[in-house]
């Protein structure tokens, strides 16, 4: 094989790595802690590949704080249960360490306290829907943790064009509904 051919192949391999393997190695983590109709706290985490296909899913049984707990925790109850109780358990038991963690509510950003995984609230951008110059349909917020912005921004920029990164939250909520209605859940 001529040196020229080698160069071509090498370049091709590099390009493959940049657009292919590097991306396909990314794992995403989605965390949601909604409440059910009876106001119980639910929680689920889903790890996916770079195309948002599920690799791992776990959920906790619904938590119904007692009246005393509600009274005494007051406004701190939500964050305590969602972050320190549910998220901590879910993230601790995860078999893999994902590259980024997406949450669907601002109060879950407090997971910064309990995990080193770069985390951001991910939502669909509601502004400028008709603006053709708009490059992104997503809005993300890493809260006060500025260090996470670079990683999250890079992942979003790489994946956003060919996968809907917000949609997996819908699947998770649907799965949670299914899971908690099952007697053995």
């Amino acid at each position: 094989m001529s040196p020229d051919n080698d160069d071509v192949n090498q370049n091709q391999d590099e390009r493959e790595n940049v657009v292919g393997e590097e991306l396909s190695d990314i794992t995403l983590c989605y965390l949601t802690c909604p409440k059910d109709a009876a106001n119980a706290f639910l929680g689920a985490v889903m790890v996916t590949d770079y195309r948002a296909r599920p690799l791992y899913f776990s959920f906790v049984s619904p938590i119904r704080p007692t009246k005393i707990q509600r009274i005494l925790y007051g406004s701190t109850l939500e964050e305590h249960v969602k972050v320190d109780v549910i998220s901590k358990k879910l993230l601790k038991d995860m078999p893999v360490s994902p590259d980024v963690l997406f949450v669907d509510a601002q109060d879950l950003l407090a997971v910064h306290r309990i995990t080193p995984i770069p985390a951001a609230v991910l939502t669909k951008s509601a502004d400028d829907k008709d603006d053709p110059a708009r490059l992104t349909t997503l809005k993300y917020d890493t809260g006060s943790n500025m260090n996470d912005q670079e990683v999250i921004g890079h992942v979003l920029a790489s994946l956003e064009s060919f996968v809907d990164l917000v949609e997996p939250f819908n699947r998770m909520r649907e799965a949670l509904k299914e899971a908690i209605k099952t007697p053995d859940a």
């Binding site: 899913f57 005494l72 699947r171």
Partner: protein, 779 residues
């Protein structure tokens, strides 16, 4: 200080000591309603995140106090860190309760899913977005969830829910689909993907093969299946290979065709072979083998599933003996003649829905039937998807159809006329022994003569075809020519020979082309610009082929059944066709061809007028025996026995009761009834229910079979009559026996909707309806 106070102080001091309260922040708003009618003291203690401690005693101002917990309003605000393990301590005179507020009962469940299978990616896949070409493809909503017919564990259900939407799956660059499927195809792919049992009955040309293939590919990538078995007619094997190369090129090297060792092929489960393809004839030869085997396939796809419409055929039995987790059937004509065709297909895709393993009606089917609320459409709806072209696609290119009248040259017509007259004389000479086969033979002979004059060799049709081919040639397009004849005297071979003499390059596709060459023929025609003409016969070339390269279709001679001609036309007029399609159907003036054409046209017109216009025409809209006879001036008709011939009654005697009941069922089936064996010892006067629609009304007949040596008496007749009279939906009751009836039974039946069929009459009916396979009982 009393013991009570000592106890309280002891407890408080204990916590004071343990918790080491320091720097109590001045925060918190307490709105506490205190009752003094009970001596209970209430304390709060809390540990902060950073080990700092807050301790509040709401009762420090006054003790003892009673606190009604319902009415406490405690707000801990402006905390930098949340509380950790706060405790509520309540104690009364003798007991102290510690409630750990951080006790949130929590159980967790985990589910892992396999990583997607990676496929070798083409470097620069060029995706054609066909929605830009066909702008008027209709949009669709996602399909309904599949019916849940078995217990599915939570993991499976979650996997189903968590799988990304189908458009996400299909947009994976690794999938590298050469064309973006249309919305209705995406719907079909998702619909199949979700179902273990499915009948995809889209009208021809909508891409059934492609939808099934992509759905299978997605299942394979998700590691839900490892291997796929495709069962199809032999002529369609090349089509499957082509479609695989197009929609799943990475697997082309992992496709295996059935070879000589069919049993090895069927058993083979190695991961290297991802798709196995077998034809119906081969699988039919292994019916007995399959019946005894226990190996199971992940997914079996049967193409042109109407091949298993006859439940008694060996092919049907073999296909139904295949064990599979997923069963998909593809056909554009799921119901060719009667509902039983469809039921037979369902016996494969959803065994037990209509019939059990022994072929008896399922309990649900029987119940629905007996309650008179049987609606087969409701039963099959969750499993069947059928879209007609006009429902999903607005912009198939225009289709121009013309019946081209060809006038035979005088000498040619003379030959024709002579042959016809001689033929009719011969038919009349046969007298009452004439059969429809004799008429058919003459018709075929005359149609061949319409193609080519056997005396002079001239062909008016060929001349017209050559003229039209000039138009094809000038437009730079390609053409298909269909004929039912292949022979070199009158058929495609002759045509090919004549055309080649005119320096035209033609390809042929018919039963005499070896199967291993057929795919090459099609590929060449589609891709070689020099080959502009493909000659096909209806039987082989009319099914499942994609020939959009052509936009001229010539029907050199005509088929009996318009549906078959439509199938042929749709080889070219289908998705992917971007040009207007010209269809020219040749017929010779004042010949048998014109007469057939007129009869068929009249039938179509009547059908459209009488039957709901929205309904498709039946595929069996051909000519009846009477109509075939009327094509000629034949003075005689086949001899019909006025005195029925019969089979020997000994045949009935040699049967067991089940065989007898089956025979009775067949007699009713031959009369056009759909029958339902109700079986069992508790049949309550009904062995068989027979149903048919006649003269627009539904006829329901209750049949009781009595296979016995002694005569059937009045009590049995009364029992059947009891069933008939109990339900006004029953038209009548038939009591059938292998022996005879007593005089009392006959007297009882008089004037009632009760028919008595004795062994003699039954034997005559069996003979009349030509029920075969009775030879085993003749000794």
């Amino acid at each position: 200080m009393g013991w009570r106070d000592r106890k309280r102080d002891q407890l408080i001091n204990k916590y004071r000591t343990e918790l080491k309260i320091t720097n109590l922040p001045d925060m918190g708003v307490f709105n506490v309603k205190v009752y003094q009618n009970r001596s209970t003291i209430f304390f709060l203690s809390a540990t902060k995140h950073a080990e700092q401690v807050q301790f509040i005693s709401v009762a420090k101002q006054q003790a003892p106090v009673t606190i009604l917990l319902d009415e406490i309003r405690v707000q801990l605000i402006d905390y930098e860190f949340p509380l950790r393990t706060p405790q509520l301590i309540v104690y009364d005179d003798v007991r102290a309760y510690t409630i750990n507020l951080d006790e949130f009962p929590l159980t967790i469940q985990h589910f892992s899913f396999p990583n997607i299978r990676k496929e070798q990616r083409p470097l620069f896949p060029e995706v054609i977005d066909r929605t830009k070409i066909h702008r008027r493809i209709k949009r669709v909503t996602p399909p309904q969830k599949p019916p849940i017919t078995k217990t599915i564990d939570l993991e499976e259900r979650l996997r189903w829910i968590l799988t990304p939407p189908i458009h996400e799956l299909l947009s994976d660059p690794q999938l590298a689909l050469p064309e973006k499927p249309f919305p209705f195809q995406t719907f079909g792919i998702k619909w199949l993907y979700d179902r273990d049992s499915a009948l995809l009955a889209d009208e021809m040309g909508l891409g059934k093969t492609m939808q099934a293939l992509i759905a299978a590919r997605l299942l394979w990538r998700a590691r839900i299946i490892n291997q796929i078995l495709v069962v199809c007619p032999k002529t369609l094997i090349p089509t499957w290979q082509t479609e695989i190369r197009k929609w799943w090129p990475q697997v082309s090297d992992n496709v295996m065709l059935v070879g000589n060792d069919r049993q090895f092929f069927l058993r083979l489960g190695t991961l290297n072979v991802i798709i196995k393809i077998i034809n119906y004839a081969s699988i039919a030869r292994e019916a007995e083998f399959l019946d005894k085997q226990k190996f199971s396939h992940d997914l079996v796809i049967i193409d042109e599933a109407q091949r298993i419409k006859n439940p008694k055929a060996k092919t049907s039995k073999a296909v139904k003996a295949l064990r599979a987790i997923r069963r998909w059937a593809l056909t554009g004509t799921p119901l060719e003649n009667k509902v039983d065709d469809l039921i037979s297909i369902f016996d494969f895709i959803q065994p037990g829905l209509f019939r059990d393993k022994k072929g008896q009606p399922s309990p649900a089917y029987c119940r629905a039937f007996l309650e008179g609320c049987l609606d087969i459409r409701d039963m099959i709806r969750p499993y069947m998807l059928r879209r007609r072209t006009e429902e999903v696609i607005d912009d198939l290119p225009e289709k121009s159809e013309q019946d081209i009248e060809i006038e035979l040259a005088p000498s040619h017509y003379e030959t024709y006329k002579q042959m016809e007259e001689e033929g009719v004389v011969e038919l009349n000479a046969k007298g009452e022994s004439i059969t429809v086969t004799h008429v058919f033979a003459l018709i075929n002979k005359l149609r061949q003569i319409c193609n080519f004059d056997p005396v002079s060799g001239v062909s008016a049709k060929l001349e017209r075809l050559l003229e039209d081919l000039e138009e094809v040639s000038e437009s730079g397009r390609k053409a298909l020519v269909f004929s039912q004849f292949v022979e070199k005297e009158f058929g495609l071979k002759r045509l090919a020979n004549e055309l080649e003499q005119k320096m035209l390059r033609v390809s042929q596709f018919h039963g005499q082309i070896p199967p291993n060459r057929r795919s090459e023929v099609l590929r060449q025609f589609q891709s070689d610009p020099d080959i502009t003409l493909l000659l096909l016969n209806y039987k082989v070339g009319g099914l499942g082929l994609n020939l959009q390269a052509a936009n001229y279709v010539f029907l050199f001679d005509r088929w009996w059944n318009p549906a078959v001609e439509d199938q042929a036309v749709k080889r070219a007029h289908r998705i992917g066709q971007t040009q207007k399609v010209f269809i020219r159907r040749f017929y010779c003036k004042d010949t048998i061809e014109e007469r057939i054409l007129r009869k068929l046209a009249e039938k179509r017109r009547l059908f459209r007028n009488i039957i709901d216009a929205a309904r498709p025409e039946p595929d069996s809209l051909g000519l009846t025996e009477e109509e075939i006879f009327s094509l000629f001036n034949i003075k005689v008709r086949p001899h019909k026995d006025t005195e029925r011939k019969s089979i020997p009654r000994v045949i009935l005697k040699n049967m067991d009761p089940t065989q007898f009941e089956n025979l009775v069922g067949e007699v009713y089936e031959k009369q056009g009834y759909t029958i339902h064996h109700c079986g069992g010892s508790h049949d309550e006067g009904i062995d068989i229910l027979a149903e048919k629609i006649s003269a627009g009304a539904r006829e329901r007949v209750v049949i009781q079979c009595k296979h016995q040596q002694s005569n059937v008496g009045r009590p049995i007749a009364q029992q059947v009559w009891g069933v008939v009279s109990s339900d006004p939906s029953f038209t009548r009751g038939d009591l059938v026996t292998s022996s005879d009836f007593t005089a009392e039974a006959k007297q009882f039946a008089k004037g009632k909707r009760l028919s008595l069929i004795d062994g003699v009459l039954l034997c005559k009916l069996v003979h009349e309806f030509e029920i075969a396979h009775l030879e085993n009982f003749s000794n």
